[in-house]
Amino acid sequence: MTAVDDTMEMVEGQRSGEDAPTLVVENLKTHFFTRVGAVKAVDDVSFTVRAGEILGLAGESGSGKSITGFSILGLIDPPGRVVSGAIRFKGEDLVTASPERLRGLRGNRIAMIFQDPMMTLNPVLRVDTQMIEAIQAHRKMDRKAARQRAYDALEMVGIPSPGERLNAYPHQLSGGMRQRVAIAIAFLNEPDLIIADEPTTALDVTIQAQILHEAQALCKRTGTAMIWITHDLAVVAGLADRIAVMYAGRIVETGETDDVIDKPLHPYSVGLLGSVPSANKRGERLNQIPGMTPSLIGLPPGCAFKARCPRASELCNTTPDVSELIPGRKIRCHHPHLEEAAQ
């Protein structure tokens, strides 16, 4: 247990800056250089996450949210590359860090949970093997102690009879169980940051609710920061402290969850929320955003949403800057819905 105490102390020491953010992403650009041209999957994205905070990163498929997550972990494979920007994890820039340093951080200080639990665990290795190796990759610990730690982690995420599950192969577990195992693996080394890439999308609604609740409780208890990537605003509404809405590789709006949900400023957020069914819109036709997500290849200059936006004007042919019109709410738009927000 001393090893754990030591790390906890270390973490405390580094947090002495009082509320210094765990992660600061500044002007991150991740592009994929394909034969038909550069795909700007992530284009000038900035955000911060503090210890114990859950940031919901919401957007349609292809908006660049998963690529943002992989960029932080340094897991972008060619032809993709982080072109510019900074990813500061507790003050250390990850973009310029050595591959060996990144490997040391991955799974240790920054963990990730993937979307499809049926695919993330190796089908030919037992659960205990896959958990113990995750511990032993980062600290010297004998098998027995590591196994005990794996047992505790499974218990923590609410898996019944963890001893049996440790000896099981992934195919012997249900989807929900497998995702719990993946979450337990993410928490094994008590990371400072967990990136969850739509971890509940592939699960039933009831299991989804349980896992959301557990993840939230674990973050608050351990002080772990979390980035929850999702396309489902209803999921993050009840989970995240803050929301960042992504569209075509850019964050178009950030703010406290309640503010963004109640009074969205960006026309895209307004459209997205308008298309979510809810009790007080019973019997009405759901709104939908006209058009399609644009192709990220050869995107015309200016706001990427202009072709689908009811408020678009000549001005939108120039890319809007990020502005903080209301304290705590950042937005990238020339024509935000300020009048509704003022009411």
Binding site: F114, L121, Y169, H171, A182
Partner: protein, 325 residues
């Protein structure tokens, strides 16, 4: 598991019985061994006597039943040429063929898997393209020609390695093999590599294809996200998954290594079963040909069974299904 084993056992028995009929009647069509065996100056009475002595005067159906009865007690008949039991003749030559086949199998694994992994992990590199071009050569060049070239280069021109025979043998743990002496090892180099060439190419292609597919799987990305070392990701997470098809194919190909050794043994004058078979075919020594073919059939059947069992050890999903059965 046991139900599966019993079913497989009966299937195997039927396959062997069917093959015995095909082999026996097939060989009878090929030609009359009496012409080859008897002195051209012998008179009709001598010929008749020889035919009766070999049991060739009986109707073919009766000969087959007699043959089956013999097999049941392990008697494949006596060689027309040597006068020794055919089975004994073949078993005497078997160790030489087995050691050649095992050496070739070993080479195809230790050369094929690493090269295939490399080509799969770095598909764009120049070395990978060289490996793949080499494997196409291995597939398409005829074995006998490569064997002859190897003799010309390594035995005749360079004089590094001997080109014929088995060399010295030694006995270790009750097995007499040329693998246990330096001289024997130098003799087995060329024929083993010649025999392995096709299999190396096959293993390279299988391993490469498996690797290319597996590296894009989520479980590999997840393993990287856990911060595991490249060595562990490739050596455990990747390799264990791609070994499943590779083991299946290598196992099944082991039978064909033994069968294909006919060509290699003839070129390198390797005193194994293959060389015996060719000699027996030339003089139409029917019992030896039939016994050889039956042994190869039995071997294939047994290997198939063994592969199924190893496969279930490697892949836990197969194991579960068998337990359910």
């Amino acid at each position: 598991m046991s139900e599966f084993m019993i079913r497989r056992f009966f299937q195997s028995a039927i396959v062997i019985l069917a093959m015995s009929a095909i082999v026996f009647f097939g060989v009878n069509v090929v030609g009359d061994p009496v012409d080859m065996l008897i002195n051209p100056e012998a008179d009709q009475a001598d010929i008749e006597a020889t035919i009766r002595a070999l049991g060739l005067d009986r109707p073919i159906g009766e000969q087959y039943l007699f043959f089956l009865k013999g097999i049941w007690v392990g008697d494949f008949g006596k060689s027309f040429i040597f006068g020794q039991p055919a089975l004994q003749l073949i078993l005497q030559r078997m160790p030489a063929t087995m050691e050649l086949a095992f050496a070739a199998l070993f080479l195809s694994i230790v050369i094929g898997i690493p090269l295939g992994l490399f080509a799969g992990l770095r598909p764009e590199s120049r070395a990978s393209k060289g490996i793949m071009a080499g494997s196409i050569m291995g597939f398409s060049l005829p074995t006998f020609w490569v064997g002859l070239m190897m003799i010309i280069i390594f035995a005749v021109e360079l004089g590094w390695l001997p080109s014929t025979g088995r060399g010295d043998t030694a006995t270790f743990l009750g097995i007499t093999s040329s693998l246990f002496t330096l001289d024997g090892l130098s003799h087995i180099c060329l024929p083993a590599f010649n025999l392995a060439l096709l299999k190396i190419s096959l293993v390279i292609r299988l391993t490469r294809a498996g690797t290319r597919e597996a590296v894009h799987q989520d479980y590999i990305k997840f393993a990287r996200a856990k911060g595991l070392s490249d060595r562990r990701i490739i050596g455990v997470h990747l390799l264990k998954n791609i070994l499943i098809p590779v083991v299946t194919v290598i196992g099944l190909e082991f039978g064909s290594l033994i069968a294909f050794s006919v060509v290699t043994e003839t070129i390198f004058a390797w005193p194994g079963m293959g060389k015996l078979l060719i000699e027996s075919i030339l003089v139409l020594d029917r019992p030896v040909i039939v016994a050889y073919l039956m042994i190869i059939v039995a071997l294939f059947v047994f290997i198939n069974l063994a592969v199924d069992i190893v496969y279930s050890l490697l892949d836990p999903r197969v194991r579960l299904r068998d337990q359910g059965a």
